[in-house]
């Protein structure tokens, strides 16, 4: 490596905000799953909505805004499970990025 490249490499700063944003985009996309003929995002909005409703079968709109009839408890369970899996993975990678700073 020549001196110019060596100096450049030493001066390289880790872009923390961009790495954090990449993780956000990545894990938000991983919250998606398909069920009951619709596409769902296992985020807090969906989990709260399903927790608030009480009927066994409910009609709610999916990520594309299309109404779908779902089994509330089943979808809630799947959403909570996916949400937690991805949040745990996100936290691990987030800690890894923090160590890079």
């Amino acid at each position: 490596m020549d001196t110019e490249n060596l100096v450049k490499t030493i001066k390289e700063r880790f872009e923390y905000d961009a790495s954090k944003q990449v993780l956000k985009e990545k894990y938000e996309s991983k919250l998606l799953f398909a069920d009951y003929g619709g596409m769902w995002k296992a985020d807090s909005d969906l989990i709260v909505l399903l927790s608030t409703l009480s009927d066994e079968e409910v009609v709610i709109t999916d990520s594309y805004g299309n109404p779908c009839k779902v089994n509330r408890e089943e979808l809630l369970e799947k959403s909570k499970q996916r949400h937690q899996e991805q949040m745990n993975a996100w936290l691990l990678e987030f800690n890894e990025v923090n160590r890079q700073r």
Binding site: K11, E12, E15, V22, E25, S29, V97
Partner: protein, 272 residues
């Protein structure tokens, strides 16, 4: 129902697109366990052997392009205009077309096979370096037509997708006409523009009703360098303008697909 990935790859004298496509195809197979078909021509194959399914077609040029923003001697034909043939050439019922510079590092694209829509592509892109340099690509033409990205294009064979590709064919044949209507430069054929106009037409010009891939396309600008750390972990090196001075930066990308617009950085990755 058969499912697979389709990649178009026609070489010119500057870039071995087929080699890139083959490298990407290996990654698709690793992360998605999905068959891949590469559409190419005899000239690109040049007697080499490839493990993935190859379909032959005549390369159609979309015009001359400068392949390196840092010099003017990397101008060559850009054979990018075959995409309208995808419906006929794809051996699958459900197909994801990806560009040969779309680096697969996850199984994220598998979600597309589960979605209820017959044609989908990305509307939103994010700049992985955090500089938001793709904001200029939100629209195209003087009348700010919404810009959809042809980098990843999902279709499920049926009447709707057939109509979509028929409309793409019609737009390709009348590209200058559509350039005049939307007031964009027609010097170079752009799949993004053709896909955007075709989506607008098949959805009855009701732009709000066009469904898109429900996550943003991770993209690297053409001056970002990429180093492979692990099979699915990359170090990105780029410069940022801080108070008028260019400062070197780096960031990590792990387990995420990305669109690598810097063809020469991609070539280095492919060549190991």
């Amino acid at each position: 129902m058969s499912r697979g990935v389709l990649i178009f790859a026609f070489n010119n004298d500057k870039i071995d697109y087929l080699k890139q496509a083959n490298w990407v195809a290996d990654r698709v197979y690793s992360y998605m366990n999905t068959p891949v078909t590469i559409v190419t021509d005899e000239k690109s194959i040049a007697g080499r052997k490839f493990e993935h399914n190859l379909v032959l077609s005549d390369a159609i040029s979309g015009g001359l392009r400068n392949f390196d923003h840092t010099s003017n001697d990397k101008v060559d034909q850009w054979y990018n205009a075959n995409r309208f043939q995808a419906y006929e050439l794809s051996p699958y019922d459900e197909t994801i077309i990806i560009d040969s510079d779309y680096v697969v590092s996850s199984d994220q694209l598998l979600h597309l096979f589960e979605n209820p829509h017959d044609v989908l592509c990305h509307r939103d892109v994010y700049d992985v370096t955090g500089q938001d340099r793709f904001k200029w690509y939100r629209h195209f033409g003087r009348y700010e037509m919404p810009h959809y990205w042809a980098t990843v294009l999902f279709f499920r064979k049926g009447d709707f997708a057939k109509n979509f590709f028929d409309v793409m064919t019609m737009i390709r044949k009348n590209y200058r006409h559509y350039g005049l209507i939307h007031k964009f430069s027609t010097g170079m054929y752009r799949n993004d523009y053709v896909v955007s106009i075709a989506l607008s037409i098949v959805y009855g010009h009701n732009l709000d009703s066009i469904p898109t891939i429900p996550w943003n396309l991770p993209s690297l600008y053409d001056d970002v360098n990429v180093e492979k750390l692990e099979h699915n972990k990359f170090m990105l090196k780029f410069e940022k303008d801080i108070n008028g001075n260019k400062k070197p930066y780096k960031s990590l990308l792990k387990g995420s697909d990305f669109h690598c617009i810097n063809k020469f950085a991609l070539e280095k990755l492919v060549n190991g």
